[in-house]
């Protein structure tokens, strides 16, 4: 088992492309995400309804090293500041295999 950071990002689905871009540019090669996420925050309700993806969120889970997180931290903060969303960070242990 190896200590790691777990980064969770919840952001509007339309902006998920930008998160993926950011991860790619910062060379973060392991991540997970899923769509169809609803919720409520400062920018109102995201109820998942509608023909466009305006009212839907995407959930990202990224397990990474402390150093990797440091690399994306500020970029992420800037993105969230501009388009909304939240980011939570916690400690996990990674089952080595």
């Amino acid at each position: 088992m190896q200590a790691n950071k777990k980064v969770e990002i919840i952001i509007n689905k339309l902006e998920s492309r930008q998160v993926l871009l950011l991860l790619k540019r910062q060379n973060i090669r392991g991540f997970t995400f899923w769509d169809g996420v609803k919720g409520q925050g400062d920018r109102g309700q995201q109820d998942g309804h509608g023909l466009s993806e305006t009212f839907m969120n995407t959930y990202f889970v990224i397990a990474c090293t402390e150093e990797e997180f440091a690399r994306i931290k500020e970029k992420l903060r800037n993105l969230l500041r501009e388009v909304g969303g939240v980011c939570m960070v916690s400690d996990v242990e990674w089952l080595l295999h």
């Binding site: 920018r43 509608g50 023909l51 800037n78 388009v83």
Partner: protein, 329 residues
């Protein structure tokens, strides 16, 4: 005749299913069309209408009158967001003003399709190129909206922008031009244009025979969506609500006047009127969320979807048709 046309429209199952959708929300029923089905139905409608339009244009060929219609269409999609913006700016902030302006300058494909269905029910012909007019009207307003924001709210580009596509005109034009609805209807239009007539005809049981039924089903879904967004309008002031009804009426009036002036074909005139009177709730929100994230999607989407859309399909279409019949003998 006025009341007749309106009533006939109201007793059409297609429109009644829209009301049923609204009712579903009012009584808080758990009936809800899964999102993949909504998407399927809307894609089906776009594909069918596009294909039909293309095949009809292949049949009729290009005429000078067509350029005229397309010209009016594009012109209006530039003018409407401009004048709307300056009205809106009196009450809303720059971001919301630009987004709402883009919303009303752009068009709603579903309203357009409902109008085509209306023409069909009333045995009125229209030109297949109207599909192209629709596609051409989608993007300009989005670009205007973005230019307006940039003009009024000059932002300092910062170092972090490298990671963000926001505010870039190129990104927005791309977003507008590659929007799924536009690509699908224009792609199908081109396919209809180049395919052999027999091969397009072979698709008709799918693209035409079941069309009305699929539209009815889809409008049920639209009713539910509109109903849900309507809740968001409860807190909106009278300003946005009247804007959402009056601006479409003004736009319709302008087009009806131009139609009389240029002696447009009646079917084309109705469709053009409906396009100008309609407001976008698919392409524009997708583009605005990315290009003007500070605009409030909880404002401009409900305006278009919960007020202007129902107004147009219930009252607008028969009303515009009535006026066109009155003024164009």
């Amino acid at each position: 005749m006025h009341v007749d046309v309106l009533l006939n429209n109201l007793l059409n199952p297609t429109i009644l299913f829209f009301f049923l959708g609204l009712l579903v929300v009012v009584i808080q029923s758990d009936l809800s069309i899964p999102q993949p089905i909504s998407r399927f139905l809307s894609y089906y409608l776009l594909l069918s209408i596009g294909l039909k339009g293309g095949a009809e244009l292949a049949h009729s060929g290009l005429t000078p009158a067509i350029y005229q219609v397309l010209g009016i269409a594009v012109l209006m999609s530039i003018l409407v967001p401009l004048y709307s913006f300056f009205i809106l700016k009196r009450r809303l902030n720059i971001f919301d003003s630009a987004a709402v302006a883009a919303t009303y300058g752009s068009i709603s494909a579903v309203t357009f399709i409902t109008a085509i269905n209306f023409l069909h029910d009333n045995n009125v012909e229209y030109g297949g190129y109207m599909v192209a007019a629709m596609a051409l009207m989608e993007a300009p307003a989005i670009i205007i909206g973005l230019l307006l924001v940039n003009a009024y709210e000059r932002r300092q580009p910062t170092e972090e922008d490298s990671d963000s596509e926001a505010y870039s005109l190129r990104a927005v034009v791309r977003e507008a031009a590659t929007n799924g609805s536009v690509v699908l209807i224009m792609g199908s239009f081109l396919i209809g244009l180049v395919s052999t007539p027999a091969s397009v005809e072979a698709l008709q049981p799918f693209t035409q025979d079941i069309f009305k039924g699929m539209l009815a089903f889809f409008l049920l879904d639209m009713g539910i969506l509109a109903g849900r967004r309507l809740n968001a309008m409860r807190t909106a002031g009278w300003f946005v609500i009247s804007f959402a009804i009056l601006v479409p009426l003004v736009n319709a009036a302008i087009i009806i006047a131009l139609a009389v002036l240029f002696q447009l074909n009646k079917g084309d005139a109705l469709l053009l009127t409906v396009l100008c009177a309609s407001a976008s709730y698919i392409a524009v929100p997708a583009a605005m969320r990315i290009s003007v994230p500070r605009a409030n999607a909880g404002l401009y989407v409900p305006m278009a979807l919960a007020i202007t859309f129902p107004f147009n399909i219930i009252v607008g279409i028969p009303l515009y048709f009535y006026l066109l019949n009155l003024l164009m003998p």
